[in-house]
Symmetry: C2
Amino acid sequence: MRGHQVTIKDIAKILHISPSTVSRALKDHPDINPQTKKNVQELAKKLHYKPNQIALNLLQKESKLIGVIVPEIIHYFFSTIISGIEKIANESGYHIIIAQSNESYHKEVENIQALLSSNIDGFIITMAKTTLNFDHFKNVEEIGVPMVFVDRACDKVTADKVLVDDFDGAYKATKHLIDNGCKNIIHLAGPQNLDIGIQRKEGFLAALNDSNISIGDYSIQICDTHDHALKLIPEILSRHNNIDGIFAVNDLTAIGAMKAVKSINKKVPDDIAISGFTNSFISYIADPELTTVDQKGFEMGQHAARMLLKRMQSDENYGPVTTILNTDLIIRKSSLKKK
Amino acid sequence: MRGHQVTIKDIAKILHISPSTVSRALKDHPDINPQTKKNVQELAKKLHYKPNQIALNLLQKESKLIGVIVPEIIHYFFSTIISGIEKIANESGYHIIIAQSNESYHKEVENIQALLSSNIDGFIITMAKTTLNFDHFKNVEEIGVPMVFVDRACDKVTADKVLVDDFDGAYKATKHLIDNGCKNIIHLAGPQNLDIGIQRKEGFLAALNDSNISIGDYSIQICDTHDHALKLIPEILSRHNNIDGIFAVNDLTAIGAMKAVKSINKKVPDDIAISGFTNSFISYIADPELTTVDQKGFEMGQHAARMLLKRMQSDENYGPVTTILNTDLIIRKSSLKKK
DNA sequence: CAGCTTATTTCAAACGTTTGCGAAAAGAGT
DNA sequence: ACTCTTTTCGCAAACGTTTGAAATAAGCTG
């Protein structure tokens, strides 16, 4: 039961003038008689006239909407990215439509299609873990809708990207564990089809290498969820009881590992030091508090939004830009061994 | 530099037929020659034709967009609500635009205005804590845009609401603490201008009453943030060292309290048992794991979306509906005293 | 072959707004 | 009185799509 929204035509009919005159009067066009303007503006105010954004969108072929596709908003990191995007977008009169892929390739494709037909002006995307085919992104590229990747980017597509220096972050975290006395660190790694999985692993390996620490065949475990770590860690530790450090690809996995370690009555950090990656809220909640790499989600979101706005507002077709933000190592108790 | 999106007109021009024929051919209208249909549909597929949603919106006077205004998406509870909304909305071809109020009244008003002019079809709102004036909601009501409140509702406005039984949840949590041996429980309460603050406090008081436990002047403390609890709890405990239970209005505050308790070398739960409210992700991360009241954000979101859809699709103006979901007490270690 | 039916297609209006151009009216200058 | 300018306004097209109604062509009946 929507009350009929007041339109320009309504105002025109009431004042016995044409819609075009009303339109111009409302925007203070010099061609319009001051008296007419006054009449129109007063009536518009009285009737609570609001321009119909949809009609404007149709005319201007833009929707002032940015489509944001992330795996899951319940993850702190992604919600901080979204907040960063929202802030910058709002400042320029844009709004954001959020869709979640739930890490599913199919849902990602579906979302892209759906948002495309909603005439999104641009995309900001964090790829799903399971995405191995990139035709949907290529499609976006072909259609010419600007697109910025955040955190997890797609190589096969020409698009702007905002990344963090995963290699360096992982290197710093691993080096920190080594400096704190760890001699046998394992890495709980992310999927190796994603750049972040690869880079963090490489940073880990490089740090070990630079410290002349040998790498066992068990040193790298593909494991990037809380529950998997809960199961995996006791198993690994039973086979390799000299492990004294864990660097996990994300905080949640690190905390799963932390719980697992505590569950078999080993101490964190004294028996096993742990570092995560992301600096999500839970790293602060964990006990002991989790050492981690701050991934600066809010800033990433802001950067991504700025890049997208620039791209949308530009007429020339400049080449793709990649921004790499640096990370900060946040040292907390989970990595500080006593001696 | 947008590539021109393929339109019905383009297809019509190429096949030398009229746009209306194309339109009907695409939707398998019986009036159209099968051969024509085939030509059209094949070409449409080949050119990746996608109907322009904006044009449809204009025609149908709807945007297929639902405006969602929440305080902060980084909070687990709100992001689960959003996920619930998104699921139901998507199933009906709607998308959601998310705006955050950051608990600020002014930002809330701003968001409402902005989304209104984006021709949102409906609102789902969780009020900001600081909202005391309701004119912006009344405005929405007057314009006739359907609106559903979630969790934190506004009494002064006629609108659908989805609430949880805060009173009962608080009662159950408090009763559980009592049953586990607590004799002197304090409540860290939310703002008393919000119904949830009042109801949870009342549930707490009722449980104490029913167990004939006396209530001290310090039994209720307005305190609903992690950091406030961190400061407040040591102070209170130093003045009332027989306190043996804490019921906090939300999980984050409970965990702040838990940390504070541990910091002064008291044991959770043996010295002081703790229960939170919400069952957010961190309650599972906490050590000891936090007993809490499951607030079912996802279901709340789903309910809210269904109610909104029903309201939007209905022609008759039925009275406002309030749905109250029941809560589940999730018992974990933080409340289970040894003896 | 006139009249009727059926199949297929096009026309035109509509949604709400903007905008280039032309039109009408009034005033100014010569 | 004639032209020229200025002021003020309306017409019509455009954005992409849908849809009732009208148009066309072809086939059929008697």
